[in-house]
Symmetry: C2
Subunit: 680 residues, 2 copies
């Protein structure tokens, strides 16, 4: 493959495409977010970290930059997308600050805004925005993290006193991992089972004071501390228990369900499960911002590792006059470049997601189908981006060797702080299952009833039609796919249509075969044997179903990359993105080579050619590695990695010294590239 890439690509042209619809929010953050408290401090204690982060939260509140998502009438901007992007930008600095902001203005403030009604807004929103009222989002319990419909905290209405009785019946019902609980929170949005007139009405939320003005727990409220964590130690996660706490009737956040003075329950959404998921659905913003923040942290880690690999040298090549830059090793490129390509891909997918969320939530009419699709997309991209972050930051840490292990080089914080992203705001495996369920029910709707299907009680009843639903650039993608000639194994692998087609094919086939297996499992019910346990039917296929979800996410991410390239007007930037997209597509196919071979989608010779093509792409993209991280446009003072300041000068000083003294001191022979020392 001969490279037809331009010799120089202006990273600013790439930045413009990556910045997307909320470019103004990103530029504003790069220009103004420079408070030193926003950076992680190495070696600080848990108490010091919490203190600093609380102080910085006030600074952020005063800047007004956190208010974007709130209603204009309370000083906000009704800009849900902008609010998400603001949080993503915070994630380039201390992730504790990002999470603290996410808890206060995203989860807590968002719940009051979206689950509450006018009187709650009028009474509390301004103080929430200013951080004068720090609060908690108290949903998760020690015993229920993934299945929150089964929360065990109860809130029982008593018409005699016109108050609710909020109660934690046992330790598994204790609220746990709650941000702002251990130190700062004055109130909490508490999720509990509503009981009124002797009947359970499902999970609802109340706004509950938990501390007095002096910061002491209120009567009946027990507050615990989750203590030191793996990371995010600037966030004061804690535990809340309630011993028959009286909550006034009007503190029920009653947008979706109301309790009258006499205890009569009303709601515009009749079905309890549906009501619950409608309530949860309004809170999708949290999940979207975690995915985006994971992506920011990934970019910073790649920025550090790529720049270090550019100047760091090790082992002299036989004919070299100095040591080889580690970015020149194929094994190093194999680590960093596919991760970089995937990071670009996810950035485009995240941009599309934020934009969709902004439009869906800002629409006058609630479009239930669009809402469901948004939730599925948010779940899938949250899982994909946070796993990608965990893997990539680990890889960047290792790519910096011992230096990557020192806090002064930033990677330890990035790694420890983002680690929990794979399980909070929804455990990733459970989220993938949510995506799969959307696909399965969508399939049923699109193709009619499936024999025996109804017996698999595990599949819920909501209407979704997400199967092969096209993302942005629909028309273009369909044209590219349609233009692929019949014989797959003759199409060049760099043909975008072929790439799109095999991604689509993998999703469709994986899903269809999962459905066939589910159907077979359920169908044994009609034989002489007793009906199979629906759990066993589903569980036997669980890994397969999760693969279908993964294939779906891979496809929407590739399509988003294609749409992003389509928006690129600068020719050089576009050419580079085109190649990077090839790398994303083909390294993904390579990672799933087994599937493609097993299902006759790749012949053996073509599978071998695939590896060679990926390696050729790495060689072609090698000279652009620094350009690709330059395009992330991360301000220097946000990075705080000592090696970025020091390593280049060190290498030059060594080189200058070597050229005068080398002969008398160092061994004459060529160093072999493969020997290593014990370390310490």
């Amino acid at each position: 493959m001969t490279s037809n890439l331009p010799t120089a690509v202006d990273p600013r042209a790439l930045t413009e495409v990556l910045d997307g619809r909320w470019a103004h929010v990103r530029r504003d953050a790069r220009e103004h977010l420079h408070d030193p408290g926003l950076l992680p401090v190495y070696g600080e204690s848990v108490a010091e970290a919490r203190e600093r982060v609380t102080r910085v939260a006030r600074v952020l509140a005063e800047s007004g930059r956190v208010a974007l998502g709130f209603p204009k009438e309370y000083g906000g901007a009704d800009d849900a997308g902008g609010a998400i992007v603001s949080v993503e930008m915070l994630a380039f600095q201390d992730l504790s600050v990002m999470v603290k902001a996410g808890v206060q203005w995203g989860l807590f403030g968002g719940a009051v805004q979206l689950l509450g009604t006018e009187r709650h807004h009028a009474a509390y929103l301004r103080d929430i925005m200013s951080f004068d009222l720090p609060g908690c989002f108290a949903m998760t319990e020690t015993g229920h993290g993934s299945d929150v419909q089964q929360l065990r905290t109860t809130c029982t209405y008593d018409p005699a006193t016109q108050t609710f009785d909020l109660h934690t019946p046992h330790e598994a019902a204790r609220k746990d991992y709650i941000g702002n609980a251990a130190r700062d929170g004055r109130m909490a949005v508490v999720f509990a089972q509503l009981v009124t007139q002797g009947e359970g009405r499902g999970v609802h939320a109340w706004l509950v004071p938990i501390r007095d003005e002096q910061g002491n727990p209120l009567p009946g409220v027990t507050i615990g501390d989750d203590g030191p964590k793996a990371g995010l130690n600037g966030v004061d996660n804690g535990r809340l228990s309630f011993d028959h706490v009286r909550v006034p009737r009007e503190m029920l956040l009653d947008r979706y369900g109301q309790v009258a003075e006499d205890g009569a329950y009303t709601s515009t959404i009749e079905h309890e499960t549906r009501r619950f998921f409608t309530m949860l659905g309004t809170l999708v913003r949290g999940r979207v911002s975690v995915g985006g923040s994971a992506s920011s942290a990934t970019k910073l880690a790649l920025d550090i590792a790529v720049r270090y690999g550019e100047v760091r040298r090790q082992f002299t090549a036989p004919r070299g006059d100095r040591e080889v830059a580690i970015n020149d090793y194929l094994a190093h490129q194999r680590k960093l470049l596919p991760a970089l390509a995937a990071t670009y891909a996810y950035t485009f997918a995240q941009e599309e997601l934020v934009s969709t969320m902004h439009d869906v939530q800002g629409a006058d009419q609630v479009d239930e189908r669009a809402q469901r699709e948004l939730e599925s997309r948010a779940a899938g991209l949250k899982a994909a981006q946070t796993w990608h972050a965990t893997r990539t930051i680990q890889l960047c840490r290792e790519a910096c060797g011992g230096a990557g292990y020192l806090q002064e080089n930033r990677l330890p914080h990035l790694k420890a702080d983002t680690d929990v992203f794979t399980t909070f705001e929804g455990d990733n495996t459970v989220l993938l299952q949510l995506v799969a369920k959307g696909l399965l029910t969508g399939y049923r709707d699109a193709f009619g009833s499936l024999d025996g299907w109804g017996r698999v009680g595990f599949v819920a009843d909501m209407v979704r039609e997400t199967v092969l639903e096209r993302t942005a650039a629909r028309g273009l993608i369909a044209r590219l796919v349609d233009a692929v000639p019949g014989r797959d194994d003759e199409v060049p692998m760099l043909d975008r249509g072929w790439q799109l087609k095999v991604f689509e094919d993998r999703e469709k086939h994986t899903l269809e075969s999962a459905i066939r297996r589910l159907r077979r499992g359920a169908a044994t019910a009609s034989s002489a044997t007793p009906a199979p346990d629906p759990f066993d039917v589903f569980n036997d296929v669980q890994d397969h179903v999760l693969q279908a979800a993964q294939a779906h996410i891979d496809r929407i991410v590739l399509e988003a990359f294609v749409a992003g390239i389509e928006r690129t007007t600068d020719d050089a930037a576009r050419a580079l993105l085109d190649r990077l997209c090839d790398l994303y597509a083909l390294s993904t196919v390579e990672a799933h080579k087994g599937w493609f071979l097993e299902h006759g989608r790749l012949t053996a010779p073509r599978a071998k050619a695939l590896t060679a093509t990926v390696n050729a792409l790495l060689r072609e993209l090698r000279p652009y590695m620094v350009t690709l991280v330059d395009a992330f446009a991360i301000p220097e003072d946000w990075k705080g990695a000592a090696i970025l300041r020091e390593e280049a000068a060190r290498q030059e000083a060594m080189h200058a010294h070597d050229t005068t003294t080398h002969d008398t001191v160092l061994p004459a022979g060529t160093a072999t590239a493969v020997e290593v020392p014990p370390g310490q």
Copy 2:
């Protein structure tokens, strides 16, 4: 597949096999190593951690348990294997203590013992063993971690004063990441380029005082602190620079190279590179103990995740009367069980490695071939076990959800502390390359000269013959492989001979095709074009060569598992290990399914059957998950994970409460297994 496993397996029978040759050392540790200072303390500062670990190092020294590896004449036991196993046992508690011990008695003490001579032993070994003389192993420099043959520190002999002049010419030559340097070290074994009579003689080591009795740096010595790290904060890693420090002639550790009063240099090993690697080779113990310690940490993480998954419940099945234990989900089994199987496999491989090391190093005659093979094995298993640790501990963290992120549940420390294992004592990628080089040169020796081979200057000249060299249980393995009938695709996948054969085949084919590619690359030299750059020839094939190394390691690990089963006398334990070995073998084949399909080693139907067989093995092994971690025999007070003490009781209390109140409070419908909340 119908299970033929016994209904009960006594974990003690498994423990006995896992404990192996140094069972007495393991039992002694389980019985006596119970100082509270040996456990990590959550939330302690860097200063507090260093203080505690230093204190505990003295306790360990007094126990005599660290002396096993030293000569009997100085109070040791000449038991190199026992010394490694002692360190592995420390790794079940605070890994900072393990590393501190490894630095003091493994690296520092080991260098004095193995590179020094009688006068060094007499003067220093006792004080090293008692920790009265804390010391450093100062090899790595800021500029050279992997390629230590190119260290830039110089040590120049001056016959006039009969001293060496030790000097750090620039910052890249600064000693870095050196354990015991920042706080405790009084002396250091410093590696530097020896220059005498105007000639460079390559890297040698000197014993150099760095601090006085009051702990102040000695004149000319500059000591820096690496500061807080991602983990291992109880170890005081630091930096050392020398400004023309005078070192007496007798402080050269002169076992392999001597400098006479007049500066004349002598050595029994003439070739400089060979001398250097002989010196390094004696230090293989460090690498062996890091691999083993990674395995201990992995076992503890699995112990925590498996026990939590056994009592933790989430989502109610349609016909269930309570929620499903998360170990019952296929997706959860897919995470934990293959990791558990691989951990067993590595344990057997590590046992074999330690035993080989003990015998090779204890032999009267130096067997150079055995020495080289040992180094290659140590490198490969260090890389494999530390990557496995990083992956598995991450997976266990995620398997425990938010609880896994709290320090009180131990996993954060395990994760952060072991992270650096993948790059210290040799960067794993560089170590794999070392393994590959051994295979390549072994191949050349076994099969004669390869055309054009000599032109690939990157391949070194040492003699190795490791290709398909059998591990323990040679005879048994050969018999099993030979018994496999011709048509591979008709042999049952649970046939051990077939499994062994496909592992062997993958190694052999990957290696041979890498060699063909190298040969082709080098051969283009004979055409009209100029000779290719040997670096490019090697670099183009680097990923392929690393795969060959990985395939080699996978094979020796499987063979070690088979040998371990062969040693098992208890029938029930043996049956269970047999199944677990099937899972290790088949999940490894599954992970490399693409390769096997691409190379015609698996047909498509057989690849599909493989997935079904792995799932069937998971179902069959599910009831034994707790038995399999029981067998690790980790004392309760070493675990220090709050969820292990609390979760079971919490679940029972909830269940008891639910059975009385459930109907009035919780929603009537079946929970769907796929919905998740936003978290915080």
